[in-house]
Amino acid sequence: MDTQWPRWEVFKQDRPDKPYEAVGTVHAPDAEVALLNARDVFVRRPECHSLWVTPEAAVVRLTAEELAAQPAWLDESPGNAAADEIYHLFCRNNFRRSMVAVTYVGQVVAASPADAMRQAVQRQHADDTVLWWVVADSALTRSNDDDIASMFEPALEKTYRDQSTYRGRIFEGRRRGGTVKEVPGS
């Protein structure tokens, strides 16, 4: 069996006061395993307070180039009485180097993904906005506060993953005549 499983988009929140950010995707057979894989792939280091995953196909995306080719997205549309689903909006506001694709900017109530996207581009449309994503709230699976201790906090103790751990500590010990205790290869 050579299945690669569906892809899941991963959103990571570093701290409670920080917005969710799109960090990448994982493959998983279901939402629960997607959360676990997201932890392994994107939280080997602090910080993480919460993860959201959603099937990759559930994310509706638009680029500034696509918007320029279809300016109808910007036309005012009358309020839609049938709107009853919550959608989360994510944007990218520049081309600067960064490790995240888009950042959470808020939520809207919309009748469809297209309706949500229309609201997103009208609400977040600065000259430098380059990406818009919308995701239905019902398509998200979230980690919860009970997961923090087992999924995210262990990374705090793994200080050897942090490059600053290696700043000259051992070299200084040597210069002061410290001994080398390791016997490699034995």
Partner: protein
């Protein structure tokens, strides 16, 4: 409605966007060749991370202390994660991960040549961190500026983590280079074997690199192989000398006029021989990857069965 732009007009606008420093995102127009070159480069890079787990992973059970073992496990885990970041970037271009992995396992796809050399002693683990990851960081730092958004973002994430790999290697080898006679000998032996393959990691010399012009215009490659190689040499030679190690190149000299360290000639025949399958570990690396893939089959099957049962239950 304005008429549809022609291919040439689109190409001109695409190149103008890159020249302005904009990123190309999934959904944006791009030439087929840009997409194909990126999939090739990114998947090769992803395969290198995955195959790169093997030479060091072989030493996890032989680490000389718990601290070194924790560091090495963490590093190998990082390489697995880096492979995933990169497969993700390739998938955003329409590639299927399964196809990419199949190409690796069948021997069709390439990965970094450096991993076709064996890790013979524990010091090789440190030397890989110092030299191989040091060289990789040069290339990856350049690629954080790549014109394709998802590739650039994967590189930023990788570079933030990779510095630890380099530093732990430098720390380890420097310690051994000033340690017992046996440790010093082991560190020097590791440098003797890894020095030249590390310099080859930057790829063939510029006059033998035919795709470079268009890759540079499209912002996939931002600096030439020889430029990056020279920058690496200039940084690493003083570090190795400071550690008390001898670089295995009798022609190596400092050119005061240019301010650069000049090495003797690189044996490109060896490079091509190894890349074409003639290296000491080519067959073993693919054998190990295939075995891992096959051994994981029952896990994938079990997880898929559980997921399908969940789906049935939730439908009821």
């Amino acid at each position: 409605m304005p008429p549809e732009p022609t291919h040439d007009e689109r190409l001109a606008e695409f190149e103008a966007r890159i020249a302005r420093g904009e990123k190309i995102e999934p959904g944006d127009w791009m030439p087929d060749r840009y997409r194909q070159q990126l999939i090739r480069m990114i998947s090769q890079h992803a395969h290198s991370e995955i195959v790169g787990m093997l030479p060091e992973g072989a030493w996890i059970g032989h680490a000389p202390s718990l601290r070194r073992k924790l560091i090495l496990i963490a590093k190998v885990q990082d390489e697995a994660g880096h492979g995933q970041y990169l497969y993700h970037a390739a998938e955003s271009l329409g590639a299927e991960r399964q196809d990419l992995i199949d190409a690796l396992l069948s021997g069709k796809a390439k990965y970094s040549n450096i991993f076709n050399y064996p890790t013979l002693t524990w010091a090789d683990v440190g030397m890989i961190g110092w030299l191989v990851d040091g060289a990789a960081i040069k290339n990856q730092t350049m690629l954080t500026g790549a014109s394709y958004g998802p590739y650039s973002r994967a590189m930023v994430r990788i570079c933030a983590e990779e510095t630890f790999h380099y530093k732990q290697g430098k720390e380890m080898v420097s310690l051994y280079a000033q340690g017992t006679p046996r440790q010093r000998k082991m560190a020097q032996d590791a440098l003797d074997r890894w020095w030249w393959p590390s310099l080859m990691m930057f790829g063939p010399p510029d006059d033998d690199s035919p795709n470079s012009a268009v890759l540079m215009r499209w912002g996939i490659k931002l600096r030439s192989n020889d430029t990056l190689r020279q920058e690496f040499i200039d940084e690493i030679v003083p570090e190795l000398h400071a550690a008390g190690l001898r670089i295995p190149d009798t022609d190596l000299r400092y050119d005061t006029d240019s301010g650069h360290w000049r090495t003797g000639p690189i044996d490109w025949d060896e490079f091509w021989r190894v890349i074409q399958g003639g290296g000491p570990m080519n067959r073993e690396r693919l054998r190990a990857r295939r075995e891992a893939h096959d051994d994981g089959l029952w896990v994938r099957e079990a997880m898929a069965a559980y997921a399908s049962r969940l789906a049935v239950t939730s439908d009821q």
